[in-house]
Symmetry: C2
Subunit: 255 residues, 2 copies
């Protein structure tokens, strides 16, 4: 099995090092990841500049390629150039330091790495350890290996991926797996205005989490209860309910 690993915390981060080390025990691993942190880059890609892929060694040992781009760039470059003509069986994106729950998915570079794999019709999994200050990469890596063993990768639908969030506890403290939906957990943003030394105003974006969407099947609710949250996601944005609502609008009468 050939696995492409990327992330959005950058190739020097602990999460990707742990993941690559553990996964290399069960598969052929290729790391292609951003040269620096690219958190909150969403599904950005690089179209106005060329991409570079620099070999990164840890000591004397080759670790992977550092790319001056986003997670989506890395997956494209990995599949279409670095591993060209080789079949990639799985894309893993992570292990992210911090949760990717609710509307985080819109902004998450980690999730976009997996969705880019899905777009290229490769089974893909985004994986996050749900603490910014005290992540547990070791338990998250064990979860990934368990998922690879128990899921049939051939059963992944085209253009779909999994978004996996692992509570930042030891493996033994995990209660099991929950199949979840992306909830509407979101941030209420506000801006702190400051003055520069010359009297001009600038803004820092801040936010408070709103968790008003509880339920056994909500992604954040599973994590809070120490379950691994597994959310099936798609690259498509179609809103079928809204479509039904609009169908009777006379604007579309000639449809």
């Amino acid at each position: 099995m050939r696995i492409l690993i990327t992330n959005d915390d950058g190739i020097m981060s602990e999460g990707i090092a742990t993941l690559a080390r553990e996964i290399s025990k069960i598969a052929e691993v290729h790391v292609v990841a951003p040269d620096v942190e690219r958190s909150a880059t969403g599904h950005a890609i690089t179209i106005r500049n060329p991409l570079w892929a620099k070999e990164v060694k840890f000591g004397n040992e080759f670790f992977g390629y550092a790319v001056n781009g986003t997670p989506a760039d890395c997956v494209k470059l990995g599949v279409q150039a670095i591993l060209k003509d080789k079949k990639v069986d799985l894309v893993l994106s992570g292990i992210n330091k911090g949760a990717n729950l609710g509307t985080d998915l819109m902004y998450s570079g980690t999730v976009s790495g997996a969705l880019e794999g899905a777009l290229m019709e490769v089974p893909s999994i985004a994986i996050s350890s749900c603490s910014n200050s005290n992540p547990n990469f070791s338990s998250a890596a064990k979860v990934v290996i368990e998922l690879i063993e128990k899921l049939d990768l051939n059963e992944f639908p085209k253009f779909s991926a999994l978004n996996v969030n692992v509570p930042a506890v030891t493996y033994d403290e995990l209660k099991g797996y929950k199949l979840t939906r992306q909830s509407k957990r979101r941030f209420q943003d506000f801006f702190e205005a400051r003055k520069d030394p010359f009297g001009n105003t600038y803004y820092w974006m801040l936010g408070e989490i709103i968790e008003d969407d509880p339920g056994e099947d909500a992604d954040y609710y599973a994590v809070r209860s120490n379950y691994v949250s597994v959310t099936p996601i798609t690259i498509f944005y179609n809103d079928l309910k809204f479509m039904e609502k609009l169908k009777n609008l006379f604007l579309f009468n000639d449809n």
Copy 2:
């Protein structure tokens, strides 16, 4: 009616100038847009740097605020800081130079501007004129005004938006409106490897469009037939079919 306008081509682009001019005839317009082009930034936001909002004048006339961020940043800053305590009735993102169809939506800054509005529970519309080389902003602006007049903005579901693509022809040449779904029109990427003057390899990303998803309801198919394509979209990525498929997996038996 108070309308916030953003885009991803930058505040100096012709598309946003045309849109702001035409919309100001029917509503109170506030322009908050990226200072430079931010195409293909997806739903990136700026979290490691502060944001600046500079007043931009065209001649002696105030036009709007130029922000050193992405379309999503602009919508957040517009709603939460610049227009704080004022109700925004509609977010318009565009008029983009070039189509946003199929999997373009993943990468599109224009669409992310509208989705950010949707996330903040403001009715939002992304609008594109479907030609990079020869867009028709005038016909696209007329279409937006028609949509505002004919849609009931109060009927927009929370967290949903519309992605509107207008064929780059005159208004009279448009055949009408089609309610469409985001198709799987996508790019087959490949990379052109080049050498720098020092012998190092770098890559340019290129791609060819694959249009293998025809049908009256496919977004690109409507545009190709000179219809305005109106696609209802959501901020949620949930893949309900994939979820059904996974439900029987013993991993989730304790759900």
